[in-house]
């Protein structure tokens, strides 16, 4: 059952990712990306990480991709689409991509057994997930957390500065 579910989700994720990468129409590309995020979010739920799943939807689908959509519509989809002349680059890209996929597959699959026991303790990750994540985030990872918030602040200021300036 769960393998079947995983299979369906994995196929969906791969299809949406492929459609996004090859999209001619930018709005369609953005939508495929949203679909991809949604599929991954469902996958997180099956991995007993509901908090990550909803944050994934809220942050990625609800904010980041809307921003993409906003930019695409603001500038105008027609103005953003152009003929991409790639020539020989396409071949190199495919070869390199396949090469990378191979390397990653070999490394990750061979490393996976060391990841830990696949015996699951439901009570550990189940109901208390939010509290656990929160506790970890604000105790052990407090410094990275603060660093991340500073990063966000910097990004915000940077974006405002970039958007405000008349000419680059």
């Amino acid at each position: 059952m769960s393998v079947l579910l995983f299979g369906i989700l994995a196929v969906l994720a791969l299809i949406t990712a492929a459609l996004m990468v090859t999209a001619r129409n930018l709005v369609h590309g953005v939508l495929m990306m949203v679909a991809n995020f949604a599929v991954i979010a469902v996958m997180y739920i099956t991995l007993n990480a509901p908090f990550v799943a909803v944050v994934q939807v809220a942050v990625y689908a609800g904010a980041i991709m809307v921003l993409f959509l906003f930019i695409v519509m603001l500038i105008g989809e027609q103005q953003l689409t152009f003929d991409e002349q790639l020539g020989g680059q396409r071949l190199y890209a495919a070869v390199l991509g396949l090469l990378l996929a191979g390397i990653l597959l070999i490394t990750l699959v061979s490393a996976a057994p060391y990841a830990g026991q696949s015996q699951l303790t439901e009570e550990f990750i189940g109901r208390q997930n939010v509290q656990l994540v929160g506790a970890q985030l604000y105790t052990e990872y407090l410094l990275p957390f603060e660093a991340a918030s500073v990063l966000l602040l910097i990004a915000m200021i940077g974006a405002v500065v970039l958007a405000k300036r008349r000419l680059l």
């Binding site: 996004m20 990468v21 590309g29 990480a49 603001l74 103005q79 890209a93 390199l96 990750l108």
Partner: protein, 101 residues
């Protein structure tokens, strides 16, 4: 039957590779951006999967950091796209390869 963790590894690797191919293949800066998001997403998936199989939540915590980085990157990146489009009227990465303003 639970899903073996290798399956997640394979899926993650494939998604990541797709992101890489997207970056290499496409010249539209917005698609390139989304491909980068895809790569980050693949990494996230692996984090959560490994965390699940190790019965710890550290992996999930890392996802938040990755998301923070992604959000910052998008904010800056899209502001750059706007600024570039203003001055150059294009979103082709090859046309904006120089550092001159």
């Amino acid at each position: 039957m639970p899903v073996p963790v290798q399956y997640y590894a394979i899926l993650s690797a494939l998604l990541f590779s797709m992101g890489v191919v997207g970056v290499l293949l496409r010249r539209n800066i917005i698609i390139v951006f989304m491909s980068i998001e895809l790569m980050l997403n693949a990494a996230n998936l692996l984090f959560v999967a490994f965390a699940r199989y190790q019965n710890v939540v550290d992996g999930q915590v890392f996802v938040f950091f990755v998301m923070t980085v992604a959000a910052s990157e998008v904010a800056i990146g899209l502001a750059l796209v706007m600024a570039l489009f203003r001055s150059r009227q294009t979103t082709d990465v090859d046309d904006i390869s120089t550092l001159k303003g």
